[in-house]
Symmetry: D2
């Protein structure tokens, strides 16, 4: 028989090139679990509605469950010339149970079938990624709780700005990844809608019960309009975007880890388990992991652009262009999960070089803003005037080859006689850090509060 | 004075090219309202906390309110060599009220200032776009309620597939844009967080009250970690992505409107108000609006890619790269709002050519699936067998040069004697459409239910 | 031995997650031919320079040639825990010939090795794609030479504009793909530069002869600066961009083939070999190939964005991020080649429905511009005035329910008595098409000239 | 008169929203010079061909030249309700010279007019950018010629790798930007094709001479097929891609300049002319220029994605979507030119901190590879074995808290008695750098050769 199972009117053999272009089995076999689960729910409902007999249902249920196991174990060959995973499973089931298999596709089309399978996959992975994000946030909290006293220079423009502590720096990333978590969960909830029963584009004349398959598959509700549903890929775009944003956050941390691992910074030392060498330079220990993670940003952004481009200008309802939706999503999901796992492991084993961080605080006049604030508070100067005056003091300190935090009271007083002895206190780096007690600030007190809030949030999940 | 207001240590004149590259006033003046509102909230709080005197506050309040009005009216010159809107307003306020102006920047940095201004802008526009989406959805509902009887061929692969009604087609778009609405609202809620008081990156030693400015500006809560907050641009990425997805939806509708306006389809006629001509061909009436809307997809996708690229690999906290965040967002927001307005107006005045749509239903054997379903139900055939049998009947009809819906009972019976007279009924196009009574289907009944559900949702907002 | 072949200083076992993230063998094995060819050239040169002995060279040459054959036949296992194809081949060669194998990496680093392998791959595929483009252009010329008399409505804005012939339409695509050809060839020439001998980043103290390996591998010249060369990926970006532009052209043709295959247009009929069916609708014949080709635009654009993003902001010289360069290029190259082959086959077997095209010319007042031109020439009217007058005539024709080309002389004369009988001639569709004799125009004469120019160009290659 | 100059059939006033969406005058007025130049060439040719009278030509020539001057000086109002620059100039010319103006549009459409104008703009800017690239390359050569003796650590993975000199590092960038130069010039040549005379899509029945306008406007030849030409935007995509690649190169240099400006590296000091301060931290001097340049990568990549997306799937010939082609190109061109100028100025005034660079060479065991190469050469060890042995020596040196270059002969000999005294020589950093004499290597000799080759190339232009 030359004819494709999914074509009633085409009698001649398809072109070999068409097959190569068209066949999605090499990648959509990833969806075999979702496909079988969906078929089970659909056939069960058809039975309840009297569209399929109990006898047929028994065969179907057993046959599909066997296939689930066999494909999972790899004991069944999936490359038998089928154009996609849906037709492969229909063929395998027919080989197993005969005519009953042909009834499963009643009141269903590949359009709603693939929409259901793919949505189940994406919803599940929203949850999986969210779970891995929680694990990562725990690592940041763990590092933070050990480093409330670890001073380091806070940077803007990669220039020393104000002293902070390393816990505070880690909490910045915990906050970022918490937002990522919220986006994945929000997307999960918004898209938890069942396409099953939409058929080709217009629903079906069979007396189906979409509420039942919705409940069976764990969806929240059936979709409202079938014409929309069969080509809706918003859920796929959302996970691609959420992964891109998350990988962007990871790329920022990666950049810092790479910088901190240089001979020039030496703020952290990555475990040898997470470093690699050079094929020619025997002394090298390279931070390959953060470099690869930073590079993955490109990959996931590309996948997002791909699907946005594919969907542009497609008339309703399903068009074959949409087959291009899956590979990018599979790739981004796999990248996201692996990246989160490897990042967590690397952070957990990373050595924090406290002494180097603190030594770095002696460069860059980190407490200059504190001196300006001192003048505002104690000398009642407008901030902008104090700011310019401190600029001059910094210039004086540089002439002495000193950091502003190293100035003595005498030196300070010589520059401007209005300074009292307590001015020296505000120039102290640790004092400077601890002075920033405002909500969300870097003081040990504020940092501790942030740890508590994030811990409470984790417990509430 | 050569020195920039925002530099205490640089004594020589900046390069003219640096100024040209660096100056953001030409575009960030868009934020003058948000900047003044933010400064008012900040100064009021500083006053309450005793950091600024009541006398200074009076001057500041009056001065800023005057500036709000004057800039709004265009009666103040904003191009006076300032590098950004924040410095421009500080300079103007200083010119107006003297030293008190210089106190406003106490316990604040441009980093939290710009983060606050830009976030206020984005939050506001999430709401604005959501509001325009509601208006657009009303138009779809209005067209739908007039076209429950308007048959047209439902398409997949741009090939005639099954008969639907035009109301149902419009409701597919209403469903899409409802999802867009939900995304904008979700993003609004998730990002309704105040950056004010974060200062440069580490908070401030001044006894500020972030809860007060949060309430004053209508935010939900202050941000948790200042180091994160000053370079968090997730809210901007989210609105860019949400606009890209929305414009993708618009591009799909645009494609259909362009097709429907061709000599070949003639399903709709756009108002002359919304068509344009050719400079050389006197007979032309072109659907420029949907073409432009379709083209805008490129623009907004580009803006999304831009910001994702900018943010890649930036170390904490603020880096000047981030200045590239605004123009793309302003452009996408403007594009989104104009597109929604013009689309609504065009739909409201579009003529639906009911007769042409119905005539088109006589092509493409739209009721073929119904015949297969008939055999499943009445002859107890497995769907896949019925499907192949109908494929043959379609081939026979084509030989007679007939659409399957035009076959007589005699012709059908001659092909296969198992058909009873009621088979003719299911081949009827209107019956075919009305048979799809499943939830979300195209039958008049199901369509009516969708209209009701969407109307209830609109009322609930 | 736990230690990686490419790390002299790391003693503990690498993390399993690092291996998973880092290992590129699953995709870079695509480069095994280039890698072996490069090693042969390098070792041969080392021998000539006296760095490797003749005896070692004999072993190396034989060993590498055996590996080339064995890997090509799949008789060697490539997944033996190696992190990339380069290390895999070094390990396999060592197993085969012992110590001599370890001398091949003298005066070479993986940095220049991978740069050489990847560049050889890209250069080769520039030529391959160019070759396939030539084949495709031949198909357009073949269709064109059969359709110089096939009238169809030329469109702008998808509205009927002016009559053209189908040959002319095909030649438009031939012209586009000729530009693509030129870009691939230009990129090939510009990037035909040898990285071999650059070593890690700084060249080598060994007395190598880069001219020899350059000649051996068919490059034009050795690269100028090794620090640049080891992280130069411009050649990869160029092929990605050239493929994106080419696939954009293919997407435009695909869109037209999809439109032309609709019930509404019916301008062409794709072979059943190139159409597919529906799983639910028995009557369907879908144009899956052009839809898939149109969708592939997204994929290749994504790959371009990926690499542009990866390369952003990387300090010199090599960074591991760059490992992300290959998969996207392999994918785009494979997509490009398959797309060109499938497109050619589909065009070669596509049926042109001449009659339907010509019937379509009776709609849309295609000869309106001709009438305006007539007035300019014969009545000495300024074009803009003639243009407005013809607008009125079109309106009159529409009131009579006629196309302007169907007006009689009497009707025309009644509208404006200045028209002479010859005005009817210019309204004739075929005359209108043939009147456009300007260089590059649609007349049969001009079309024939274009065919000749393109044929000459093909012969000159 | 309500009717638009470019519409003969639309009688009612256009929607205000359509006008806002449609009007391109705010940005396409950038093309006024090209538009007038094109019209002059077209009208001159029409005159020569007898289509326009000599008297009309005199009026047209004078009128257009006056407009060129008036618009250039800003003495003419361009916002008079015209939808684009082409209609604005036609209206202004008509106001100036009456009926003769209406004849200019004979044998021309806005489609070929805008294609001509835009192409002229892009071609011109390919040359402009190429010219600025040459200036930039001169700066690199100038810095290089002063820094052949300036040692610095060459990096891979941002880890110290091998010693190089700063001249060599600058020449890497000169090589990159030379490739950019070649791409712009190649694109210029490939696209130097005249669209003028293509009219709407099919050529024209008027006896025009495209060779003449081609020569007049400085194009190489007229385009081959008008249907292709009117919607060909490959030239625009090419300049966008070439700018993206160039800005990616700039982003790499920017990243390095930012790193080199940190307290940790201090390899260079940017001029105060090119640094900016902080609004709150008085001590800050930020490298805003390289940060902004790095950020511009996002902007130009976005513009490329935009146009690739716009062009996807557009049927032939012109569609209004294409109006989205210009803003992105204008923006990328402006960004590219400004970036090149500011980068050159910054490099010219940048201070190279030679001593800091050289001090940095004492970290990271930069000469480890040299020791391995020594063993290959002098002890006849296979490279891979020597490589592993040096790994051990580096570990020993680290235990002594020494860089490998600081080991004494005694220490080395104690580790492995096979070392002779000359081994100490290869460990010397300067010797290590100078040993890499291979073509393209870092030795002073090789570096000097690279300077000479690039200087010759510059002279040859």
């Amino acid at each position: 028989m030359k004819k494709n199972i999914a074509s009633a009117r085409i009698d001649i053999e398809s072109s070999a090139l068409l097959k190569e272009l068209n066949d999605s089995l090499p990648f959509d076999k990833e969806l075999f679990r979702e496909d079988i689960t969906g078929s089970l729910a659909h056939a069960k409902m058809l039975t309840k509605q009297g569209i399929i007999s109990q006898d047929d249902w028994k065969l179907i249920e057993q046959g599909l469950n066997e296939l689930l196991e066999e494909i999972g174990q790899g004991s069944v060959e999936l490359n038998g010339g089928d154009e996609d995973i849906h037709m492969a499973i229909e063929r395998l089931l027919t080989a197993k149970i005969g005519d009953a298999a042909k009834r499963v596709h009643t009141a269903r089309s590949r359009n709603d079938q693939v929409a259901t399978d793919f949505r189940l996959y994406v919803l599940h992975n929203n949850q999986e990624i969210a779970r891995l994000l929680v694990e990562l946030i725990k690592s940041f909290l763990s590092i933070a709780s050990k480093n409330r006293d670890t001073l380091l220079p806070g940077m803007t423009h990669l220039q020393h700005a104000q002293p902070i502590n390393f816990a505070y720096h880690m909490l910045a990333y915990a906050s970022m990844f918490k937002r990522d978590f919220e986006r994945f969960i929000s997307s999960y909830k918004r898209n938890n809608i069942s396409p099953l029963g939409c058929a080709a584009l217009a629903g079906t004349p069979h007396p189906i019960d979409r509420e039942q398959t919705t409940a069976e598959l764990g969806f929240k509700e059936p979709s409202l309009n079938c014409l929309d549903t069969v080509s809706d890929r918003d859920f796929a775009l959302e996970i691609l975007f959420n992964i891109s944003t998350m990988m962007m956050h990871i790329s920022r941390l990666s950049e810092e880890l790479i910088l901190w691992s240089t001979s020039e910074f030496k703020f952290v030392t990555l475990s040898d388990k997470h470093a690699t060498g050079s094929s020619i330079m025997p002394q090298k220990k390279n931070p390959d992991i953060p470099e690869l993670l930073r590079g993955k940003t490109g990959r996931v952004n590309g996948n997002l652009v791909s699907l946005l481009t594919v969907m542009k200008g497609l008339p309703l309802a399903y068009n074959k262009d949409t087959q291009e939706d899956k590979e990018g999503v599979f790739d981004s999901v796999k990248t996201a999960k692996l990246s989160l796992m490897v990042l967590k492991e690397m952070l957990d084993e990373m050595k924090v070089n406290k002494e180097n961080m603190e030594n770095a605080c002696k460069k860059g006049h980190l407490s200059a803003t504190d001196l300006a604030d001192y003048m505002v508070k104690n000398l009642n100067m407008p901030f902008r005037d104090a700011y310019h005056l401190v600029g001059n003091i910094v210039n004086e300190a540089e002439k002495m080859n000193k950091d502003i935090s190293e100035l003595t009271f005498e030196e300070l007083h010589a520059i401007d006689p209005r300074f009292k002895e307590d001015a020296i206190e505000v120039l102290n780096i640790e004092n400077s850090m601890n002075a920033r007690k405002s909500y969300g600030g870097t003081s040990k007190e504020s940092t501790q509060k942030q740890i508590e809030i994030l811990n409470s949030w984790l417990e509430s999940l």
